[in-house]
Symmetry: C2
Subunit: 143 residues, 2 copies
Amino acid sequence: MRVYRTKQRMLLLDYLKENTDTPLCAEEIARGLSECECGCTERVSVSSVYRNLALLAAGGDVRRFTADDGRTALYQYVDHVRCDTHLHLRCTVCGRLLHMDEELSTRVMRAVFGSANFMIDGKQTVLHGVCGECSANEQSKGE
Amino acid sequence: MRVYRTKQRMLLLDYLKENTDTPLCAEEIARGLSECECGCTERVSVSSVYRNLALLAAGGDVRRFTADDGRTALYQYVDHVRCDTHLHLRCTVCGRLLHMDEELSTRVMRAVFGSANFMIDGKQTVLHGVCGECSANEQSKGE
DNA sequence: TTGCGTGCAAAGGTTTTGCATGGCA
DNA sequence: TGCCATGCAAAACCTTTGCACGCAA
């Protein structure tokens, strides 16, 4: 089956590549695309966004999360060059997605493989917790 | 606000504690509860199951996942005594949830805290990848 | 010209909510 | 007795699907 390089698909891909820091929901993406250039309403329909996101997610180019509300799906572009080699950290306080450096990621993956015989998939794994900045803020608040 | 120990709530909690190995969706839980003792239909309504699961999840007694279909929520009882001290591994091939032993979990959490200043929350984190058994099967298939 | 992709609206499935009733403490 | 919890049905919500038309190659 042939895959066309349609205007909508290319716009979506560009948009995702420009917003790799935060996972976005389908509607946010559709809205973002429509506000991109001119002020005209809805340049790419939500259903097309969904269809293309599903395609990209199946191909591994996009990562699919679940939002804190437990039902909305969030999507984020995956940079293959970097993602095979490092893990991600999500701070549950500020919501940011942080990149764990390659050296530490490798160390963790090796330790788990060595001791538990489990091969971590960096593309699918996200460690949840509290980042240094937020834990510092929490502490200063408590004082 | 007072929390009553109603029959339905207690049944739910018991059921979850008896099924800690697999995450279940709300409907499965409701069905499981109704098939529990007698053959009568629906002993606990789905909405009550949802309401109680939300309460339990908020309190950290239940972990909320997202099924592979990307929309159904799955729930699993969290054993606090064990969960603060170890991480979980989910095999993407066989689907099992494995418990990483405490020593290795601590090692990983310390390494990440030491190098990335990030405090992993064991209750929320699940490492995805392939377990030893499945990777052995994959290999033997390829031969 | 072929057939994939799109937009729209409607359908689908899961989860939440409103309200009257029931039951715990 | 005072509220919280429940069940039911309806609503809300996100996502998928059907269909006719448009557009890439």
